[in-house]
């Protein structure tokens, strides 16, 4: 309702309850909370899948093993595969866990206290797993999200937009004449430009905008809560910042620019990620065709942003002023 224009972080962002503490929680907890969100979604999917596969005699019955479900003979009713999933909880003691588990009904989660050496090895293992997971989702050169992880994020945000009746924008950026950089000064130079571009993207966006590298010299920016106008302003500022940069390779200086296409999605319409990317791509194409180093917003032909049936037309005004049928 009441919007404070100067506070960008508050603009049009619904469903903070979806990620209550993650944004403010200290380091390890933020990560954990994010994972628990993902775990919840994963289990919800599994539950849905199991429910629909329920009539299939080969399907695994819903995992509900535990003391309450054991039959009198002590045999485990779940005859299918069984998995225990573990995660390290740095800083958590046995006593503290017991209290928490009792308070929040988590007695079915068992806790193992680790001695120093096992602790160390498992920590290392956990770190290796985390690094791999990060690598899987991020571009090694720039550290930005990669295409796969980005698409996942887009779907999430689109659901949020639809639920909350808000809007978002997607901007596709492509560095202009980038091939020239690699050809003239080599790939190491090209990499430098890409890394700098990624830095600029990260600096220009707020905490919850998402930046990704989805191609050789292609980047994409997800801007939740932004209108096409706001997105355009942001992209144009970014373009100016990039053009102001002076790059130096092999004792030569050069400048670079990008072209960008923006597509928006507003609450009521159901937008698909691929369609949104497609529209942004079309706008990007327009930007390139119009001479590069510019930003274009995609306009759906023939579809106005608002209902025009109430607009007073010129013939109506004419009639009011003169009383004539002209």
């Amino acid at each position: 309702m009441a919007r404070k224009p100067t506070d960008a972080a508050d603009t049009g962002r619904p469903d903070r309850a979806d990620k209550p503490a993650s944004a403010d929680a200290p380091g390890n907890y933020a990560q954990l909370l994010g994972e628990l969100d993902a775990l919840r979604r994963a289990l919800a999917e599994e539950a849905a899948r199991a429910a629909s596969a329920g009539s299939n005699p080969d399907s695994v019955p819903p995992a509900s093993s535990g003391p309450d479900n054991m039959n009198p003979d002590g045999e485990d009713p779940a005859s299918g595969p069984l998995l225990a999933v573990a995660r390290l909880f740095p800083g958590m003691t046995r006593h503290r866990w017991r209290t928490l588990a009792d308070e929040h009904g988590l007695r079915q989660w068992f806790a193992i206290e680790l001695d120093k050496s096992t602790n160390f090895n498992l920590r290392e293992l956990q770190k290796a797993v985390e690094d791999l997971a990060h690598q899987r989702d991020h571009d090694p050169l720039t550290g930005l999200m990669n295409r796969r992880a980005f698409l996942r994020q887009v779907e999430l945000e689109l659901q949020r937009v639809h639920r909350g009746g808000t809007e978002l924008c997607l901007a596709m950026l492509d560095l202009d004449d980038f091939k020239r950089v690699n050809d003239t000064w080599g790939h190491a130079c090209g990499d430098l430009v890409l890394r700098r571009m990624a830095e600029l993207l990260r600096d220009a966006t707020r905490a919850y905008d998402v930046a990704a590298r989805i191609g050789g010299e292609e980047f994409v920016l997800l801007l939740p809560g932004a209108s096409p106008l706001r997105a355009q302003a942001l992209l144009e500022r970014l373009l100016q910042d990039l053009r102001d940069e002076s790059f130096e390779c092999r004792d030569e200086t050069f400048r670079i620019s990008f072209s960008a296409g923006i597509a928006g999605c507003k609450g009521a319409t159901v937008c698909r990620a691929e369609e949104l990317l497609d529209r942004a791509d079309k706008a990007l194409y327009e930007a390139k065709a119009a001479g590069k180093a510019r930003v274009r917003v995609h306009r759906l032909p023939g579809v106005p942003d608002y209902d025009r049936s109430t607009m007073v037309q010129s013939d109506e005004k004419q009639f009011l002023f003169s009383g004539n049928d002209d």
Partner: protein
């Protein structure tokens, strides 16, 4: 369940500065003097005007209804003793102008217990075609559009009627022509508007009356007193009186219909 006897009327214009609030106030005054308890609501929620015309500076306003546990009875300010009250709006509160459907529903719910003691509920709407204006206009049983002979006033009123009829299914409007220099100009102005409505919107507005251009009106405004009190014999005052009489008759005729309807139509019925 008690039968409803309150007739709700919204007074709108599209264009600002055409005398909407003044007319609302003085019509209200006439009806009150005619023996009808009347509540005047300043629905220009973020830019209150009614209190200014009355020379009253109320401590509380409708925003307090939303912010605190204040009862509507505490917010209502008597203009005259014994049944002529008004509900002030706030001044300089943009959030009230941008009120969403839920807030409006809450406001109406909180006000409802207050309505039953009045024969008339006048909603003095703000200018323009923002969602608050449209919502309130669609909520009342009657609508009175105030126009002046000026082309911009005609266009703005027409635009307002167009939005209300096409987007909100509201098709009944009464028209008062304010500040015409002659009866002829009054009729011409109304006819111009009505013809456009007939031709393009397929609706038939009804002429409720005209209020002549009269120096006594700005004089009363400067004195911050109702015209009906300071210059009851002036031409404008007499015109207002005639219109009030019509409204009185209309209410009497509508009483059977009003009986089982709420004074303000539930928001769920609106076409949003």
């Amino acid at each position: 369940m008690t039968q409803n006897t309150t007739l709700s009327v919204s007074i709108l214009s599209g264009k600002g500065g055409v005398g909407k609030t003044n007319i609302a106030l003085n019509l209200g005054y006439c009806l009150y003097r005619g023996g009808h308890p009347l509540l005047l609501m300043d629905c220009d929620l973020g830019l209150a005007n009614l209190d200014v015309l009355l020379g009253i500076a109320p401590d509380r306003n409708m925003q307090d209804l939303l912010d605190s546990d204040a009862a509507p009875r505490d917010i209502a300010v008597p203009i005259e003793q014994g049944g002529f009250d008004f509900l002030p709006a706030a001044s300089g509160v943009p959030e009230l102008v941008e009120m969403d459907g839920d807030m409006r529903a809450l406001l109406v719910r909180k006000l409802e217990p207050l309505f039953s003691r009045y024969d008339f509920l006048f909603l003095d709407l703000g200018a323009g075609i923002n969602p608050t204006v449209l919502a309130f206009a669609a909520m009342t049983q009657l609508r009175i559009v105030i126009v002046t002979p000026e082309p911009t006033s005609l266009t703005d009123s027409y635009a307002l009627m167009k939005v209300l009829s096409t987007q909100h299914g509201v098709r009944d409007f009464f028209v008062i022509v304010n500040q015409a220099e002659s009866r002829k100009e009054e009729t011409q102005t109304f006819e111009r508007l009505a013809a456009a409505c007939r031709k393009f919107l397929d609706i038939e507005p009804q002429f409720l009356g005209g209020v002549r251009l009269d120096k006594a009106v700005p004089d009363a405004v400067r004195k911050q007193k109702p015209l009906m009190r300071v210059a009851p014999q002036s031409p404008a005052a007499q015109d207002l009186f005639s219109i009030a009489v019509k409204l009185q008759r209309m209410r009497a005729a509508l009483l059977p219909e009003l009986a089982d309807r709420p004074p303000l139509r539930a928001l769920s019925e609106e076409a949003y």
